[in-house]
Each structure stands twice: as structure tokens, then as C-alpha cells.
């Protein structure tokens, strides 16, 4: 008595040509990730006082490499993966093919955007880090490239909406299949959330870098950045949630408990967009009351996260018990740990629990005063985006790349080695970063070059960062070898479909649950909330002071 989360459960395959664009979009993400983690290694060693970045070809300063690391890993890789993976899942969920023209447009847009941004970073004219706070002023291809990378996600959402509209025409009165619902909700949410960064780049920074504005308004630019900079973390996370809800239950031979709970989780993320001010707790110019209000709203994020923890753990438990596990936690050891896709993603979930706890600490503004901009922060987010997301993406790749290539995975064993190396690595890394942060060690700092004596607590912390970071790098390297060998030398095989889950409590075709699919109303609520939180503050900034001159000494 269980219901598949897709339409056309008997089988559906995308046209070959669409599969190819999806494949290359995702591979673009993996290629930039490879460059990104290489810089990660040099940053981790820097904190251990080993300075190797001057030997990197094309990278002259620590901050140039750090810009590449942040932009490639956190923006380009995650967006490229989402564009490819979510489009695939929505098409599969609906059992409907995508629009090929839009798919191609999205691919070429993100490709050109990536090349422009990467070119600017490598040329040394854009060492402004992935937050590019004005008045640090990068060369125009950096901003133009970023704008295109964001636009590629809008093009992808257009594709999803067109495909959904077609499904609704052909299946009047049917619920949106859960797998597709998650993907569409993710992109709707992101279309709203990305407005801040889009306005910042297109209206202010890009024209400014071309000489059309005389200066920048750092306060307004920062605020627009963090309007998007907070919810961007959901855009990193939600494609991975689609796997945790939509695939993992199947991969562990379990089942998803409830259809509607998943929809509610995605809607909660859609609604809790405007909390970016929690990244500005210690900024001047932002009224205190607003900071406190946002702090309380931020804690509401606890709810969808715990709902996810419950649903996913329950699915794992069903699978573990079916495999003969018993007792309070005995089932946990019976899930298929030998499957690298499951292993990587379950380890990623464990890291996410630690990430969630450290996230609560960041959000507690009293704690934030001690750790803002210390290494505590990268300690936290390498558990979340750096592992919960990145390691899950690696885990997904272990079935996705074989599916896209119709080839066997080159080595499951190597995949397991990679996952464990990365996971143990990040635990050591984060331990170092977090303790260093509590001892006042600043992030975004070429620690191997500081002119003052290190305060107590920094030395050990830095060594742990270096050791853990090197292990993460080694794990990532093994991952790239597995993927490259699968693509180049994998044995041909037939993989008919993707591993989608089933739900125990199926979607109802009547009653309150129907309102979950009326996305228009939820969009309205989300937009109103954004206007209520951000409107008065932004209005108070007028007339804008575009008079702070650009700064290019980097």
C-alpha cells in the first residue's frame, strides 16, 4: 500500500538530447568544483601556517584563490548541479519531457557566465571574494558572469513552469507528483530569493564597474546581498533534500512516511526568505529592533529542518528494519552502507546535524557577537554546504552519472573510500575551525603571513584545519577519479529509470491538502513577508548615496 512519487511509474526516459544538456550542466559543476577544492587545500594548509598558494599557477594571492573557492564551489557548482538535477527530477516526476530550446539556453548561459567570472578571477582583477562587498570593485566580466549564472537559474525555472503547465493541461485535476512539486517549489522560492543579488549586480555593481555610477552605497549593496545570501543556502540544500526525500528512501529499501509533510517543508522554506539580516547582526546602520525580529524568525527554520530529520530518519529506519536490524538503533547499521551513494548521503546527514547545531549557535545573536567572522563560521558551513550538500552531491553522482552515461560505476569501493575520507576529514577540519573561532581566529585571513604572534589556541586549531582539510581534499580527489573513470572507461549497461521513492500516506485528492498545490497563494504570502521585513529598511535608505569610490588594491 504505497504510492510512487512520480507520474508514469511504469517508466519514462528523457529524450537523448535533453539528457545530454543535463549531463553537461552537471559536469560543468563538477569541473569547477575540482578547481574549487584545490584552492580549499591551499586555504586549509594556510591555517596550518603552510603557504603553498604562491606556487599555484595563475593565483598570485591568497585572496584570489579564496575568491575562486567561494565562487566556484558555493555559486557555480551548486547552481549548475541544481539546474541539471532538478530539471531531470521535475521531468521525471511529471513524466513529461522538458523544452529542449530552454534547456540549451540555460546551459549556454551558465557556461558563458562561468567563463567570464573565472576569467576575471584568474586575471587578478576580481579578488573580491564571493560576497564582493562594495566598495571593493571587480572588473566588469566578474559581475556580468555572475549575473548570467543567476539568469541561467531563471531560465531553468521557466523550463520547469512550462513543463508543469503542460502536465496540468494533460492531467486536469491531478495532484502535482511529489518529486516534481519539490523541484518546482525550489525554483519558485529561488526566483523570489535571488531578486536581491540580481538588483545589486545588475542595477548597481555592473554599471558601476563600467563607469556608469560614480560610486557605491555599501550599506544598501550589503543588504541586497544578504537578502539573497541567506536563502541561497536553501537553494544549495533543497536539491539535496529532493534526493533525501525522493531517492534515499528507495535506495535503502524504505519508504517515505507522508507526502504532505514534505510539501509543507518546502513551503516553509518558501515563506522564511527574509531573514538575511541575521548576517548583519553586527552591522552599523541596521536598527536593533529589526535585528531582534529577524533573530526570532530565524529560529523558525528549526521547524522544517527537524521535520526533515524525522521523515528521513523514519525512512532509513524502515529500510534498516526490513534488512533485519532491531533495537533502538540497531537498524542504523543495517542500511546499505556498502552502497557509496547511500553511504555518502547518510554521512552527509550526520554532518548536517552538527551543522544544524552550530547554525543555531550562529543565529543566537549573543553567541554571534563572539564568533561573527571568526573561523567558527567556515567551521559551521563546511558541515552544511561543504559536506551535507557537497558530499550528498557526490553521493547522488554515484547513481546519476551511471544513469546519464548508461555505464556502470567504475568502482563502488573507491566511492566508499572517498566518502569516509571526506567525512572524517571534515570532522577534524570543523573541530579546528570551531575551536579556532572561539579563540578569536579570524576567517578570510592569510594566517600564514600575519605579522603578529598567534594568540593561544590558534596553533592547534590551525593544524587540525590543515590535517582535516587535506583529508577532505584527498576524498574529493578520489571522487573525481571515480567519476572520470566512469565516464571514460565505464562498462556499458542499461539503466532504465532513476531510483524514486514511494510514500506510505499518499496524497489526497480532496480536503486541505489541495491547498498545498495552490502555489500562487504561497507565493503571495512569501512576497508580502519580504516586503514587510525589507521594505521599510530599504525605503529608509533613500535617497541612495552612490558616492563611495571603488577600491582595487587586491
Amino acid at each position: 500500500m504505497s504510492t510512487p512519487i512520480v507520474a508514469a511509474p511504469d517508466g519514462f526516459a528523457l529524450p537523448q538530447e535533453q539528457r545530454r544538456f543535463i549531463k553537461w550542466t552537471i559536469y560543468l559543476g563538477f569541473i569547477v568544483l575540482a578547481f574549487g577544492v584545490l584552492n580549499g587545500l591551499d586555504q586549509a594548509l594556510n591555517y596550518a601556517h603552510i603557504d603553498i598558494f604562491r606556487f599555484f599557477p595563475g593565483m598570485r594571492t591568497y585572496y584570489q584563490g579564496l575568491t575562486a573557492h567561494g565562487v566556484f564551489n558555493a555559486i557555480v557548482m551548486t547552481f549548475a548541479f541544481a539546474n541539471g538535477f532538478v530539471a531531470l527530477l521535475v521531468a521525471r516526476g511529471l513524466g513529461t519531457k522538458l523544452n529542449s530550446g530552454i534547456l540549451a539556453a540555460s546551459f549556454f548561459t551558465i557556461l558563458i557566465g562561468t567563463l567570464l567570472t573565472a576569467g576575471a578571477i584568474v586575471s587578478g582583477t576580481a579578488s573580491v571574494l564571493y560576497t564582493f562587498y562594495a566598495p571593493l570593485e571587480a572588473s566588469w566580466p566578474f559581475y556580468l558572469g555572475l549575473a548570467l549564472v543567476v539568469i541561467s537559474t531563471w531560465i531553468t525555472s521557466l523550463n520547469l513552469f512550462v513543463t508543469l503547465a503542460k502536465f496540468r493541461r494533460e492531467h486536469p485535476g491531478e495532484r502535482i507528483p511529489l518529486l516534481a512539486y519539490m523541484g518546482v517549489a525550489t525554483y519558485i522560492f529561488w526566483d523570489i530569493a535571488s531578486a536581491g543579488i540580481a538588483i545589486e549586480v545588475v542595477v548597481f555593481l555592473l554599471p558601476w564597474s563600467l563607469g556608469l555610477w560614480h560610486g557605491a552605497d555599501p550599506m544598501v549593496d550589503r543588504t541586497l546581498f544578504w537578502f539573497t545570501g541567506h536563502p541561497i543556502v536553501y537553494f544549495w540544500l533543497l536539491p539535496v533534500y529532493m534526493s533525501w526525500y525522493g531517492m534515499i528512501p528507495r535506495q535503502v529499501n524504505g519508504a517515505l512516511f507522508s507526502d504532505s509533510v514534505v510539501r509543507i517543508v518546502f513551503l516553509l522554506f518558501l515563506i522564511i526568505i527574509p531573514v538575511g539580516f541575521h548576517h548583519q547582526f553586527v552591522d552599523p546602520g541596521v536598527p536593533r529592533g529589526l535585528k531582534y525580529a529577524v533573530a526570532v524568525m530565524t529560529f523558525a527554520l528549526f521547524v522544517p529542518s527537524l521535520m526533515t530529520a524525522f521523515s528521513v530518519m523514519y525512512a532509513l529506519e524502515i529500510g534498516g528494519r526490513r534488512a533485519g536490524g532491531s533495537g533502538l538503533i540497531g537498524w542504523f547499521f543495517r542500511i546499505p552502507w556498502k552502497d557509496p551513494s547511500v553511504c555518502a548521503q547518510v554521512l552527509a546527514m550526520l554532518a548536517f546535524m552538527l551543522g544544524g547545531i552550530t547554525g543555531l549557535m550562529n543565529a543566537s545573536y549573543n553567541m554571534n557577537l563572539e564568533i561573527h567572522n571568526t573561523t567558527f563560521v567556515p567551521g559551521h558551513f563546511h558541515l552544511t554546504v561543504g559536506t551535507a550538500v557537497a558530499l550528498s552531491i557526490m553521493g547522488i553522482a554515484y547513481w546519476l552519472v551511471p544513469y546519464l552515461e548508461q555505464k556502470e560505476l567504475w568502482s563502488a569501493k573507491a566511492g566508499l573510500v572517498s566518502s569516509w575520507l571526506y567525512f572524517i576529514g571534515v570532522l577534524i577540519f570543523a573541530r579546528g575551525m570551531i575551536s579556532g573561532g572561539l579563540a578569536g581566529m579570524p576567517r578570510r585571513t592569510a594566517i600564514s603571513l600575519i605579522p603578529y604572534a598567534e594568540p593561544p589556541g590558534w596553533r592547534l586549531a590551525g593544524i587540525l584545519v590543515g590535517v582535516g582539510g587535506s583529508m577532505m581534499f584527498a576524498g574529493a580527489l578520489v571522487f573525481f577519479v571515480v567519476i572520470a573513470m566512469t565516464v571514460l572507461a565505464g562498462k556499458r549497461t542499461q539503466i532504465a529509470d532513476i531510483p524514486y521513492s514511494v510514500t506510505i500516506a499518499k496524497p489526497q485528492n480532496a480536503g486541505w491538502e489541495l491547498s498545498l498545490d495552490r502555489l500562487r497563494y504561497w507565493i503571495a504570502i512569501a512576497v508580502v513577508l519580504c516586503v514587510v521585513v525589507y521594505g521599510p529598511f530599504l525605503a529608509s535608505q533613500f535617497p541612495l548615496q552612490l558616492n563611495i569610490p571603488g577600491f582595487r588594491a587586491f
Partner: protein, 164 residues
């Protein structure tokens, strides 16, 4: 199974709710009782047409008088400006037990103002005034750091607070 799972889920959500409320209560306690406060809106500095931001800062009180001033018994005010890649003043002396209001701004890019091991942690934005108050209870040589990336020599940007 269905029923059982629903019961577990409700239980789980109730526990989560209790935790959530507990966290918020602790936050409220530290704010009200321990007076841990976030910085708020203080003021802005605007350059006149043709004037540099640095010039505007130096004619705006209290930045026309940098450094430490005693403003009451055990109460001090420490006025700073930040410029890539240094703080001014570079070193200040304070007695143990001093309650100090740090007032700072930047004349070029975004800088950080962080005294390692304390709650003095703020961002300095060009054109905005930042303020935070802290009581030094222990003697020592405190490291004042720029903890926001501000260009090529960001990692060299520091100053000292000596508490005797």
C-alpha cells in the same frame, strides 16, 4: 504502522517546539538580564560635494578627537578610524574594570573591528558609525583585528588594547 508513525511524529514536533521556546527564552535572558546587546543604528557621515570621505570623517565629532577619553568614573570612550590596512590609534591603554564605548568608522572599504576573546565585534562601513560597549575585567594585551577582507594586506591589519 501508519498510526504509530503519526504518534511519533507528533511527539517529535512537540519536543522540538519545547526546545525552540527554550532557546528563545535563554536568548531573552541574556539580553535583558546580562545586557548582551546587538549594535543598532548610530549615525552616518556624508562627504560634501568635492570632499573626500576621510576629510568628512575628521571634521565630524567625535572623530576629530581620536583615542581614549575618560567620560566618567571607570567610563571611557575610545574613538577609532580604520583605513586599509591599519587602525588609528594603533595602541591604547586602559585600566582594569574600564567600561569602554568603542566608536569607529572606516574611510575607505568595509573593515572589521574585533577584539579577540571579547564580545567587541562589529563591522565598519564607509559612511556609517559603529558603536559597542564593553567592560574589561581582566588585565592583558588584547589583539584588535580587522576580520573582514579589505584587500591585499588585510591580514596585517591589527592594533593593541593594553589593559593594566
Amino acid at each position: 504502522m501508519n498510526h504509530e508513525a503519526e504518534r511519533y511524529e507528533r511527539f517529535f514536533l512537540i519536543i522540538s517546539g519545547v526546545f525552540l521556546v527554550g532557546f528563545l527564552l535563554v536568548l531573552a535572558y541574556t539580553s535583558v538580564h546580562m545586557r548582551v546587546m546587538l549594535p543598532g543604528r548610530v549615525g552616518t557621515i556624508e562627504a560634501n560635494p568635492g570632499e573626500s570621505l576621510a576629510a568628512a570623517v575628521f571634521r565630524t565629532p567625535p572623530f576629530n578627537h581620536l583615542g581614549v577619553t575618560k567620560v566618567g568614573p571607570d567610563e571611557y570612550q575610545a574613538v577609532y578610524f580604520a583605513q586599509a590596512w591599519a587602525f588609528f590609534p594603533r595602541e591604547i591603554d586602559l585600566p582594569v574594570g574600564a567600561r569602554v564605548k568603542f566608536i569607529a568608522t572606516s574611510v575607505d572599504v568595509t573593515h572589521g573591528f574585533f577584539i579577540a576573546g571579547t564580545r567587541v565585534n562589529m563591522m565598519l562601513l564607509p559612511g556609517q558609525i559603529s558603536e559597542e560597549t564593553y567592560t574589561f575585567r581582566k588585565p592583558g594585551k588584547y589583539l584588535l583585528l580587522c576580520h573582514e577582507y579589505c584587500g591585499l594586506l588585510h591580514h596585517t591589519m591589527h592594533a593593541w588594547v593594553i589593559v593594566k
